[in-house]
Subunit: 234 residues, 2 copies
DNA sequence: GAAACTGTTTGACATCGATCAACTACGAAG
DNA sequence: CTTCGTAGTTGATCGATGTCAAACAGTTTC
């Protein structure tokens, strides 16, 4: 088992790539120059190794985060210790901002799915900013709205679609092409994708197999799609 | 099929019970007197009969709503027309506020599960209010946060728990007692509860049956629980 | 190059829940 | 009281997916 409280490698320095990601997240775009400075003052950059736990359910929620590189899994445990992913956050995604005006404790666990760099926001500071600066409030509302819609999508997908359909939908979302052949490179391990889609790794593997008959071939992380519009009819 | 655009019975008059519900929703509590008045100016009260569609996916989202009485189902359809509930809203619940700073179109369908009274908020007006009045922004953020957490709970529950466990959890949430015997009166039809829990009506029925062995008996909408703490161990 | 490790795939099997159909219970209308 | 319609239950069946175990592949380590 990992250490309970994550001893993060604080690096005060932020590299340009990470900074670009941070500035482009919906949470930061649309902030006025003034608020942007104040917001940046609430941020610490941290690097964490793969599998490191960022926080656990019911820990006091003093920070929320923005992924700058790598991926972070948000998940919950049942009584027997089985894990279910709630969301997977990649570069530019913020998580746990729902606690700015919510609970005082984390409501789920967060773990780095691979080596990751995070921007850590001081919850109190941002809360104050949100109460005083309309542009900050607006950014937060936009961000929360978007996450809420995504979460509702997730519920609907789980309840309406089979495993192959969910995989097809994921592929379609990650390939901008409208029809004809395309190829998608998965940005992470298949086991992580399985969790995102609410599947066991074996089920994801079988879903990919079943998509072979509509022209989908997989080699490692590279997924070749024979005909994008055929995928849409799954 | 129901009429596409709901011709709602506008009743400018709001009765005291409905008004009390409206004032107690998280969306309205915490507003200053000034903002409260402005917010009320954005509201129209409407009554709709059971099964009436409030709005459909991809319709322009000009309003969001607060349920004052009755229940409203939010749901989405798959290609074959099968419906999956995303959320069920009861008195005091707001829905579609995620579009204040989100999309311009509804992202799901809403239908009255029974005769209902709704407060209809003008999206534009509230958007302006949210941008100018910090208390309005704060109310919206709190509300969105709460809904997001609930939606994440829903995803986790669907993925972690079986049908009987979900039913047990619902019962536990609706009965404040800590241990020993208790009774819960379902506030709506079982078919609606089934949808809320992501189950077919038959599956809900069987889940209740399977809970008999832990002392749960059902007669109509009345659910008797022999031992609340036994339910928790399901 | 061999060994060890991790992630993925495949097979066999069990379980859960959806579906369809038949039956029952209850409430409303006549 | 009877009839009818709706909601709910029960049974039978089927399909989808989780689980466990074993085989396999790609990577890293030595």
């Amino acid at each position: 088992m990992e250490k309970h409280t994550a001893p993060m490698n604080k690096s005060l320095k932020i590299n340009n790539r990470d900074k670009a990601v941070l500035m482009r997240t919906p949470f930061m775009t649309g902030l006025g120059a003034d608020t942007l400075v104040k917001m940046m003052n609430a941020v610490t950059i941290t690097s964490i190794p793969a599998r490191q736990v960022v926080f656990r359910e019911s820990m006091p929620a003093d920070f929320f985060f923005c992924v700058l590189s790598g991926y972070v899994r948000l998940y919950r445990l049942n009584r027997e210790g089985r894990e279910a992913d709630i969301r997977v956050c990649g570069p530019g995604d913020t998580f746990a901002e729902c606690l700015i005006f919510g609970d005082d404790f984390y409501r789920f666990n967060a773990q780095a799915a691979e080596n990751a760099t995070l921007a850590r926001f001081d919850m109190r500071a941002v809360r104050q900013l949100a109460e005083r600066e309309p542009d900050a409030a607006r950014a937060i509302m936009t961000c929360l709205s978007h996450h809420l819609l995504t979460a509702m999508d997730c519920v609907a997908n789980d309840r309406l679609h089979t495993a192959p359909q969910r995989v097809a939908e994921y592929l379609l979302k990650s390939c901008p092409i409208d029809g004809g052949p395309a190829s998608v490179r998965l940005p992470f391990q298949k086991s992580l994708l399985a969790g995102m889609l609410g599947l066991a790794p074996e089920a994801l593997s079988r879903a990919f197999s079943s998509l072979r008959r509509v022209g989908v071939t997989v080699r490692g992380r590279l997924v070749q799609i024979g005909d994008v519009s055929a995928l849409r009819d799954i």
